[in-house]
């Protein structure tokens, strides 16, 4: 649909600008807050323009953190989050692309059952099975470990479904041509399926990285040692102060820092990401 009427154009822009303002305002407020000193919030008015303490606040959080809250430096928490988000994203992609490959291209006994088992887990997100999952993870001695943080979140069906859909759109002739060309199943997978699903993997990576990065409830549960705190869960701990006022300027600096990696991932992978979502030509 391509309309070219000035009135509509103006309206479209108005709506877009409004949307941007609504989304961007809280981010702006958080940023502004992170550049002021500790007392500026007690005065009752929220400043709208950046203050002079930007470098100081950020340096403090990255370097030493807020020791009174029991959290490690923000840099360390970000590293933990990075490990968790990457493990979840890569682990999920690896497992689901393999299981989708098995389901789409192989005839084996109980294939239907396997498919439905995977399907059912779709209805059981982490929050629903959190107590038994915690039990299992604790029983395996995985509390306070990167494995405990990421493995339970790797098991899920959404990505398997996505790849199944992708594989189903591959023409049968491609499989047959590869068979005649002497490519065995794994060779076909490596030489043809993987390269052809590249953009889908990229799109999925972006989505899953953000999903992993933003995990809150699960890391809060399985980490008791500050060595394994992740940043999103850490923000909550920073804001929790028993007596006295939260150090909002520092909390906001942390929040802004926590936002950066997902934004970076989206920006750097944008081209592939969009291609993966809209591309149909195989």
């Amino acid at each position: 649909m391509i309309e070219n009427r000035p009135g509509l154009n103006a309206l479209a822009h108005l709506v877009l600008i409004l949307g941007v303002v609504v989304v961007a305002l809280p981010v702006w407020v958080a940023f502004v807050a992170s550049t002021h000193g500790p007392t500026d919030f007690m005065s009752g008015t929220v400043p709208m323009w950046p203050g002079p303490h930007l470098v100081e606040n950020y340096a403090k959080m990255l370097d030493t953190g807020l020791s009174t809250s029991g959290t490690p430096p923000v840099g360390w928490m970000m590293f933990n989050s990075l490990v968790m988000a990457l493990s979840i994203a890569l682990g999920k992609i690896a497992i689901s692309i393999l299981s989708a490959f098995a389901i789409v291209y192989f005839r084996f006994p109980l294939r239907g059952l396997a498919f439905w088992c995977i399907f059912v887990t779709l209805m059981l997100p982490v929050e629903v099975r959190i107590v038994p999952t915690f039990q299992v993870v604790a029983g395996l001695g995985l509390l306070n470990s990167y494995a405990g943080l990421s493995i339970p979140l790797i098991a899920s069906a959404t990505a398997t479904f996505l790849f199944r859909q992708v594989f189903l759109t591959m023409p049968d002739e491609l499989v047959e041509a590869a068979r005649i060309d002497g490519a065995g199943p794994m060779k076909f997978f490596r030489d043809i399926l993987l390269p052809l699903s590249r953009t889908n993997m990229a799109a999925l990576f972006v989505i899953l990285f953000i999903y992993g990065w933003n995990q809150y409830l699960w890391p809060l549960l399985v980490t008791t040692s500050s060595d394994y705190y992740t940043i999103v869960a850490g923000i909550k701990r920073l804001a929790d102060v028993v007596d006295g006022l939260p150090q909002w300027h520092l909390v906001m600096a942390t929040a802004v820092l926590a936002m950066l990696p997902p934004v970076a991932v989206v920006i750097f992978m944008q081209k592939l990401f969009v291609k993966g979502l809209v591309e149909t030509e195989k």
Binding site: A177, I180, G182, E281
Partner: protein
């Protein structure tokens, strides 16, 4: 290079559909065989059984002297060209051609030699580093053939390779395939539903109907002596007139046959002719005209030169040797 033997070959699909039955055929080394028939008659199934892409439920396929019923497609020493080309979209043309050879462990130097040679034959040298997406349909078709050629297989299998091309290109490619096969002398099995393509390409035609072989023969044999009304109606354009003999009682031999077949081009206007035709419609084709009409209730089509006079009724005659006689019940040709 090798001969191919089909021995009582049959296919029943898991659902119970009998797609092919009792096909017996001997394809000589270097022969160009075309499987032709209407949609759904089992051409692709038959071809895919030879390729090894479809399991064989009855009978035997031999390539050379080797029974290949359970041999993997890659080990049958065949190459296949698909209707939608099935090129690997993420590989360059060169990689597409080389992929099968690489999997076989052919040496780098040999691969380069064969790819360059095929590119030379098919004139796709300037596209070697492009992706298939950046090629036209005809160019993709060439690449698909190139992929078959570089393998230097015992047999080429084609499944309607030209049906995605426009009419003009189809004619050009048809010629090229024919020339190529002459030059390489590779046994070929070619599937099409286009009888003209079949006639022009084949050393021998196999006409299939409902999974059964109706007739095997050279294009001229099949054209001149169709074995059944099905073949008569399928091969030749415009199709042969198949007339119940009671509608044309004055033709020689019509007393002994249920159905008389006459090709439209074998009917000539003749004031004393035994057939009277009421003209219903005329199709102008430029060089000639197709005149449709009926005689005694039976439909009739004739071709006339574009200068012939047209009347509402025409009297027609045919040479006795141009008449084909078929049994009314079985549709089989009568001697």
């Amino acid at each position: 290079m090798a001969s191919i033997t089909l021995d009582n070959l049959g296919k029943v699909y898991p659902g119970g559909t009998r797609a092919v039955g009792d096909v017996n055929m001997q394809i000589a080394d270097g022969e160009f065989i075309v499987l032709v028939g209407p949609s759904g008659c089992g051409k692709s199934t038959l071809l895919r059984m030879v390729a090894g892409l479809e399991s064989i439920t009855e009978g035997e396929v031999r390539i050379g002297d080797r029974v290949v019923n359970t041999v993997e497609p890659a080990d049958r020493d065949i190459a296949m060209v698909f209707q939608n080309y099935a090129l690997y979209p993420h590989m360059s043309v060169r990689q597409n051609l080389a992929y099968g050879l690489k999997n076989r462990g052919t040496s780098k130097a040999e691969i380069t030699r064969r790819v360059d040679e095929a590119a030379e034959i098919l004139q796709i040298g300037q596209f070697l580093d492009r992706k298939p997406r950046a090629l036209s349909g005809g160019q993709r078709q060439r690449v698909a053939m190139g992929r078959a050629i570089v393998r230097e297989p015992a047999a080429f299998l084609f499944d309607e390779p030209l049906s995605n091309l426009d009419a003009k290109l189809r004619v050009a490619m048809r010629l090229e395939i024919k020339e190529l096969q002459r030059r390489l002398r590779t046994t070929s099995l070619y599937v099409t539903h286009d009888q003209l393509e079949a006639m022009t390409l084949a050393d021998r035609l196999v006409v299939l109907n409902g999974g059964q072989v109706e007739q095997i023969g050279t294009p001229l044999e099949v054209y001149r002596n169709p074995a059944s009304t099905f073949v008569a109606g399928f091969i030749g354009s415009p199709a042969m007139n198949l007339i119940p003999s009671r509608a044309v009682p004055h033709l020689p031999g019509s007393a002994h046959a249920g159905i008389i077949g006459i090709r439209p081009e074998d009917l000539a206007v003749d004031p004393d002719g035994p057939i009277e035709m009421q003209v219903r419609a005329v199709e102008e084709l430029g060089a000639q005209r197709l005149v449709h009409g009926h005689t005694n209730g039976a439909d009739l089509t004739i071709t006339l030169g574009s200068h012939a006079d047209l009347h509402d009724t025409l009297r027609l005659s045919a040479q006795p040797e141009a008449l084909h006689r078929f049994d009314e019940k079985t549709g089989k040709r009568l001697a």
